[in-house]
């Protein structure tokens, strides 16, 4: 270390010790100021936050919602517990009718559709009667019930949407239009519906109820965020506790010291997380399940920072140094590497700003602030506290060959075999990456511990699918939706959809026209077909529109100048790949079969999620490459060696590949989380590389060791600390794997895998590589020069 810099670090350390009380109070005050923003934190409950404002699928969907009406929905399913009983009984119909009427009172409800209020058309002489399908359930005799069932299960607008084809389940569909002014809007609507269903459920113990739809799903996000924070953070304490035991076992040899060190570590990591969450509050960030994991990530990384400083201090004391000198020495050797590893971690997290999915950008920024805070606190609060508190150590046992020394010998002696075997194994693992399938089924982000998942599956099994693909199909111009050519093609298109695998229901304007045509011809079944005259169709439509009650109009299905209609296709749960294939097939069908003016694109929440991983992987590609370049450059600069910088590329890149390869072998399917793993894990796994290479470099330059001895030296000096730090990081991220929210457990598990892979690569592959490529370097010319990056 050069004298000026060395002097700086030492002078800084001495300054901290002298002014320890001031440093302590100032850092605590700063922490409190930052953390005061935490009460401003809220939880978002809008699923659309997963998409940036520029996301093309989101924009297509919002354009459609602007033309028609919003599609935030709550679906209440009703099914008699007796499996042999249909919903067509006076009692059950009464419940459905009651639910339908009460549902109008759900906040932000603009429309309620059900079996009972379906606007059934009937011709009586020259009258067109449009009325609720079920008006007075109690007064219905067997014949009336039979008739209602026949109408319902043969009505395309109802069957497999609001009534099951077998008649055993029915639904009440509430369409919401939220002004978007208050994040509590969704919660208000969903809570009201839940209370309503709760009351009806109590009064009708013989019926099963389920609540599904986009709104309850969105409302499950804050639940998921809070559940994760409530369950995972306590688990983090377990990790912290185990880390402290390790510290006790490894470093001090004295109970009293380890208790005090535990207190100091605990304070430092909590404060790091508090600063980050407080700053997020000041910044107005609304937490999502991914960003709600930030405290866990920060705690994990902050522990690792503390460990490095405390290990050095105690090991110096065990060699006989007094506490203050040991603290100064620890800061001297750790200022640079802790800064460098924090910097690379921050770069890795900041690169998440390239993600097209804002929750991950939030996660990256909060974590980056937390890592920076952990660094700052481990340079201020931590040494100040250690200077104030007493420390006792048992003397070190000298001259004993450690496990790490034996490990170093093994790696040096077996370098050729290791190089070959690790390369082969790594290549074999990497070969599994292409087998990974990307899948983002929105509902499956939640596991079965969430009611929304259970209820949605109940609805899918018994009534209708969870996913809706929406299309606004244009006609040739104003009023063109009555044109026979348009209607004919639209009907063929709807029928084509009905033949596609996975499609459960198609809501098409053509069904309205056919029903109307029939009613205009005395309900003669043979007229259940499209009118073949534009003006006639338009006039039927006018008649029908004049007959509809409040809220049940066609504005949700027809645009204002009657130049386009909305086609809604409900599907059972399809994989992302199948979903995209269906979207592309449907658009191609229009190109191949319909007039040019009818061509359009499919949208919907399910489409947005079908492309989210792809789009994020593409947007993160730039971020990942930039992070990688920045991190490699900081390494090369810190090590003052382009050659070492280049060699470092392999151990820095390979671990994420190994993680994905193992994932491909074992789990096989991954979602959105995949897009961010490479960048975030890069910032973490690079730490071990930094420590090994800087020790190695110091050994070669300062001590004039050859490559093999330099490897032994680095294993011996930094090996144990690295395994301990890695164990903590792996455990910390593995905690996230216990989340019930899929993005979180995938992210946690993949990162843990990458970090674990990194330590293996750093100890088994990196040394043989160094011995292979760094063999010929002259070592004496730079021996006198100090190097900037000490290790430990």
């Amino acid at each position: 270390m050069d004298h000026r810099r060395k002097g700086l670090a030492v002078r800084y350390a001495q300054w901290v010790i002298r002014w320890r009380w001031l440093v302590l109070i100032a850092s605590i005050a700063a922490v409190f100021a930052a953390a005061a923003g935490a009460p401003r934190l809220g939880f978002t409950n809008d699923y659309q936050v997963f998409f940036s404002d520029e996301n093309p699928e989101l924009n297509a969907f919002q354009a459609l919602e602007n033309v028609y009406t919003k599609t935030d929905t709550i679906l209440i399913a009703v099914k008699p517990k007796d499996d042999s009983e249909k919903v067509f009984t006076p009692d059950t119909l009464e419940v459905i009718k009651g639910l339908t009427e009460e549902s109008w009172k759900v906040p932000f409800a603009i429309r309620v559709d059900s079996l009972t209020n379906f606007q059934h058309t009937e011709a009586i002489g020259d009258d067109l009667t449009v009325a609720d399908l079920v008006v007075d359930p109690a007064g219905m005799d067997a014949a009336a019930l039979k008739k209602a069932e026949e109408v319902a299960v043969s009505e395309p607008a109802l069957v497999n949407r609001l009534v099951a084809a077998d008649g055993y389940t029915a639904g009440v569909l509430i369409t919401l239009h939220m002004p978007g002014e208050d994040p509590m809007e969704v919660t208000q609507a969903v809570s009201h519906a839940e209370e309503l269903v709760g009351a009806v459920r109590t009064a009708n113990p013989d019926l099963n109820f389920a609540i599904a739809g986009i709104a309850p799903l969105s409302n499950s996000f804050p639940v998921a965020s809070q559940t994760d924070m409530e369950t995972l953070i306590p688990l983090m304490w377990l990790v912290l506790f185990v880390s402290m035991i390790v510290l006790l076992r490894v470093v001090t040899g004295k109970i009293g010291s380890s208790v005090l060190a535990s207190v100091v570590m605990t304070l430092t990591v909590i404060m790091s997380a508090a600063v980050a969450m407080g700053m997020a509050g000041w910044g107005g960030i609304k937490l999502t399940p991914p960003s709600a994991t930030a405290p866990n990530i920060i705690l994990t990384i902050a522990i690792a920072d503390c460990i490095h400083i405390l290990i050095t201090m105690y090991s110096q004391m065990r060699r006989g140094m007094n506490k203050h000198d040991a603290l100064v020495e620890s800061l001297r050797v750790n200022v640079s590497p802790v800064f460098l590893t924090s910097l690379t971690t921050v770069i890795g997290f900041m690169s998440l700003n390239f993600s097209d999915s804002p929750p991950f950008a939030d996660l990256g920024n909060i974590s980056a602030v937390g890592v920076a805070a952990a660094w700052a606190l481990s340079m201020t609060l931590l040494p100040a506290l250690m200077a104030i508190l007493p420390a006792w150590v048992a003397p070190a046992v000298e001259g004993k060959m450690t496990a790490m020394d034996r490990f170093g010998d093994f790696v040096v002696n077996q370098r050729r075999k290791l190089l070959l075997s690790t390369t082969v194994i790594i290549l074999a693992i990497l070969a599994f990456i292409p087998t990974i399938e990307l899948d983002d089924r929105f509902i499956e982000y939640f596991d079965h511990s969430y009611q929304i998942r259970v209820d949605t599956e109940f609805v899918t099994d018994n009534l209708t699918g969870p996913d809706i693909l929406e299309m606004s199909v244009p006609s040739a111009g104003e009023g063109g939706i009555s044109e026979p050519e348009y209607l004919r093609n639209l009907e063929m298109f709807a029928n084509w959809f009905r033949t596609q695998p996975g499609v459960m229901h198609v809501n098409s304007f053509t069904d309205v026209m056919k029903r109307l045509n029939k009613s205009m011809h005395g309900d003669d079944e043979s007229w259940y077909r499209l009118p073949n005259d534009r003006e006639l169709a338009a006039q039927y439509l006018l008649l029908y529109e004049l007959s509809l009650p409040y809220g049940l109009d066609l504005n949700s299905q027809i645009n204002i100048d009657k130049s386009a209609t909305r086609l809604s296709v409900t599907m059972e749960s399809l994989s992302t790949t199948e979903m995209r294939a269906l979207k592309e097939r449907s658009e191609q069908w229009l190109v191949d079969n319909a007039p040019e003016y009818m061509q359009t694109q499919a949208s919907g929440a399910v489409i947005m999620f079908a492309y989210i991983s792809d789009r994020n992987i593409r947007s993160m590609l730039t971020g990942t490459v930039l992070a990688f370049l920045a991190i490699s450059a900081s390494l090369a600069i810190a090590l003052k060696s382009v050659r070492l910088g280049l060699i470092s590329i392999i151990p820095n890149l390979v671990p994420a590949g190994i993680a994905f390869g193992i994932w491909g072998m074992s789990v096989g399917v991954v979602g959105l989380a995949a897009s961010v793993i490479t960048a975030t894990s890069l910032g973490l796994i690079v730490d071990a590389t930094v420590h090994i290479m800087s020790k190695y470099n110091r050994a070669r330059k300062e001590h004039g060791y050859d490559a093999a001895d330099a490897i032994r030296y680095s294993f011996s000096t930094v090996g144990l600390a690295l395994w301990v730090a890695t164990a903590i990081l792996v455990a910390g991220f593995a905690v996230l794997a216990l989340s019930g929210f899929r993005l979180n457990w995938e992210m946690g598990l993949l990162t843990a895998l990458a970090i674990a892979a990194a330590i293996v690569v750093d100890f088994l592959l990196l040394p043989p590589l160094l011995m292979l490529f760094d063999r010929s370097r002259k070592t004496n010319d730079s021996a006198a020069r100090a190097e900037p990056v000490p290790a430990e």
Partner: protein
């Protein structure tokens, strides 16, 4: 008593003594219901005797995107004297061309559903619309038929809420609750200016008691030195962000229309 909002919407009248003096707060009953009822009665009274009107209407629909679409129609209204029944109206659609020649005949009633017939020129037949619940949007607009059909005094109960400035005028604010079945609204809040007893603004509240729509009356004109009609009715749907403007391009009063012009059988001969 009557008044078809399509054509009127408001009270008309001249400062014929009665009104001005009538509205002195002290002279009114303390009871908010009586007070509200009295204001509405005055509004109703001032439009009595308009006889019949003819007007051309342009309707401009606007969605949240700002995209617009137009409809054009003529509307004839016949005052039906007496308290027992509502006015008669005939809407003749001019544009869009697919529905040109379609004509809607309505007999407004106080509490019973209105009688309505639609003539379909392509079918050359008259169809009776026998639905009881016609609270849906009128030709895709933000107006429900009940917003523009006859505004009869007996359709609501009234409650005076307060007086407050409305633009340059002072308005009485009344809560009106529909007495007829199958309304899309739980209540309306209506602003009547106290100088001419014209409706200036109506707020419509939905079944959950939330503000659904606001109707504004713009540019009142006086006809025959007595009857007030707004040039534009502007409806904003607060829940969907959609808007509709109804512009009256010409008004004629007392044109000599009679019962015979408002019969089901005359619909076909309208062209």
């Amino acid at each position: 008593m009557k008044k078809i909002i399509l054509s009127t919407v408001t009270a008309a009248w001249v400062a014929g003594g009665v009104g001005v003096g009538l509205y002195a707060p002290a002279a009114l009953a303390d009871d908010a219901a009586d007070k509200g009822r009295a204001i509405a009665e005055e509004w109703d009274r001032r439009d009595l005797g308009f006889g019949d009107t003819k007007a051309k209407l342009r309707m401009v629909l606007q969605n949240r995107h700002g995209e617009t679409s137009e409809r054009e129609m003529y509307i004839n209204t016949l005052e039906v004297p007496g308290e027992g029944d509502g006015d008669k109206s005939l809407v003749y659609f001019e544009h869009p061309r697919d529905i040109k020649g379609t004509a809607l005949l309505s007999y407004a009633h106080i509490l019973d559903p209105d009688d309505q017939w639609l003539y379909l020129p392509k079918l050359k037949r008259v169809k009776r619309i026998s639905s009881t619940n016609k609270s849906g949007p009128f030709v895709g607009s933000e107006f429900a038929f009940e917003d523009i059909s006859a505004q009869e005094l007996g359709k609501y109960t009234y409650k005076w809420l307060r007086d407050e400035p409305c633009g340059e005028l002072t308005c009485a604010v009344l809560e009106q609750t529909p007495l007829y079945e199958n309304s899309g609204y739980t209540k309306q809040v209506t602003w009547y200016d106290l100088s001419e007893y014209r409706q200036q603004k109506v707020e419509y509240y939905d079944r959950k008691g939330e503000l659904l729509k606001t109707l504004e009356f713009r540019d009142y004109q006086q006809y025959l030195g007595k009857y007030w009609r707004a040039d534009e009715l502007f409806m904003t749907n607060h829940q969907t962000g959609k808007k509709t403007s109804l512009v009256y391009e010409s008004y004629e009063f007392q044109t000599g229309l009679s019962e015979g012009d408002f019969r089901k059988n005359t619909l076909k001969r309208l062209q």
